[in-house]
Amino acid sequence: MTEKEARFEYLIRLGDNALILGQRLGEWCGHAHQLESDIALTNIALDNVGQARNLLTEAGKVEGKGRSEDDLAFFRTENEFRNNLLTEQENGNFAQTITRQYLFDVFQFHLYSGLCSSTDDFLKGFAEKSVKEVTYHRKLSGDWMVRLGDGTEESHDKMQEALDILWPFTGELFEKTEADEILIASGAVPDLEEIKKIWIEETSAKIEEATLTIPDTMGYMARGSRDGHHTEYMGYILAEMQALPRSMPDATW
């Protein structure tokens, strides 16, 4: 793998995470339990779609085949997407959406924080700008974790159920590929093992504060996105997202 291929893979990974999570959050629009939450979720969706645009545009440039952000978003197959499985999980109820958000926000926050000292100009600039957005997301989802976990018995149970469903998808957030090794060596990206330590510490403390329990999965963690193997949800996400541009491939929008 060349450095260029490594950069492409990494940018796609970051971009797909932001895109698919933004896509999922967009489904909430108009349906949240109160206006303030509708605005907050839309805002996080908007930040993520914005990040995806920057990242995929850059990925297209790095690749050098003239592909735009839209070519990459709308004309790749499921197997070519590199978003983490966590981001594609269904919205479910608000507990599930918030738990998914929180687990991912803490990851994204520390990853972007690490990228702020990247030797790669693009990644550094991108991270410095985006980490501010993610700081706010992580605060919002973290507050909801505690509020719902330590709210009523009903909300507690819903949160515990959400955590049980989503926890197994957190393992592969930290899985490294050859691209990681190449980019870590040049100082372009942080080591996911380091991020994992901070992530575990921070989420464990918050989960405890929320009076919730990390489920015992007997060592099982889902994996697959690094090889383009997704969960059953992904096909539907792409079918919905890509249908229009694919039905009129010669059109511009």
Binding site: G26, A32, L148, A243, M248
Partner: protein, 314 residues
């Protein structure tokens, strides 16, 4: 001061062009009319999120997706802002939302039409936000301070929505034959509902005398409608689209575009609950409310626990 005298003073204040503020005395009917109008407006912003939200996951480019997300978010902000404006009149948000969910309060009937293609997102921005701007620019000159100021602020964002919507339509109308057909079809379906959105014709409109005297509205529905038509018809032509009205003609003498007969029977049918999406829209709002109950209860319970903990710590 007796009521007659107060009303006289109130009228003088309005006639002199001053704004009425929340804490001031106002006739009960003025309060009632404004409460109804502002809460209906707020509900319209919220229900209006649904037909547009319907295309967020399917927007055909990432730029369009981001712009649409931002637009729908703006509409939620308008709702929030308007509920606050209505609250200055002594009603709370919960009561207003209950009225919406139980079907007692109305919202703009235009949102009972479906968004069937991407071009509908263009049509809504261009026509629905366009009609809203013309109406709200008029309402911004109204006598109730908090509402008038809300209108000024909201109109700025609506103008942005309007431009974005027209840009979508213009682009489609000048795209592939399929895209052009999509744009024309959207215009065909949204044109008359947008015309009707500005309210019943002056001949049919009830209690408008008082509304005008109190400057709740400062122009009649037909005047506002004509302004909307005059600004929109040339835009359709510039995009190469045809207004679905065989009787449409330009009157050289008056300088106005004249439209054919408006189908008011359909308008009243949809208002009475029998449009294509009335039930779907209301159901979506009711579900959000029902699904959200445990979240609101949890938030309240957590806040109560926090207060108790603070007391204990002190």
């Amino acid at each position: 001061m007796d009521t007659a005298e107060r009303e006289k003073k109130f009228q003088e204040k309005i006639d002199s062009g001053l704004k009425v503020e929340a804490k001031e005395w106002m006739p009960e009917n003025y309060r009632k009319q404004l409460t109804r109008m502002i809460s209906q407006h707020a509900h319209s912003e919220i229900v209006g999120m649904l037909p547009e939200g319907n295309w967020i996951t399917r927007a055909p480019s990432l730029r369009r997706k981001a712009v649409l997300l931002a637009k729908v978010q703006d509409e939620a902000g308008h709702g929030l802002y308007l509920y606050s404006a209505a609250e200055t009149l002594g009603i709370d948000r919960k009561t207003m939302i209950d009225q919406l969910l139980s079907g007692r309060a109305k919202y703009s009937s235009i949102f009972n039409y479906p968004t069937l293609s991407w071009a509908d997102i263009g049509a809504i921005g261009w026509l629905v936000d366009g009609a809203a701007i013309v109406n709200q620019t008029m309402l911004a000159r109204g006598s109730y301070g908090p509402y008038s100021r809300a209108m000024v602020r909201i109109c700025k964002e609506e103008s942005f929505h309007n431009r974005q919507g027209y840009e979508i339509m213009y682009h489609l109308a000048n795209g592939t034959p399929e895209q052009k057909a999509m744009a024309q079809d959207a215009l065909n379906r949204w044109w008359w509902p947008s015309i009707q959105m500005l309210g019943p014709s002056d001949a049919q409109s009830k209690n408008s005398e008082e509304t005008m005297r109190w400057k709740i509205k400062v122009e009649s529905n037909d005047t506002v409608r004509q302004r909307f038509i005059d600004r929109t018809v040339p835009q359709a032509h510039a995009a190469g689209l045809t207004i679905p009205d065989p009787d449409l003609k330009f009157n050289e003498e008056t300088g106005h575009w004249e439209i054919g007969e408006i189908e008011w029977t359909e308008f009243y049918r949809v208002i009475k609950g029998h449009g294509p999406c009335n039930r779907k829209r209301l159901k979506a709002r009711q579900e959000a409310e029902r699904e959200g109950r445990w979240v609101r209860e949890a938030a309240a319970a957590y806040a109560a626990k926090q207060r108790a903990r603070a007391v204990q710590a002190a």
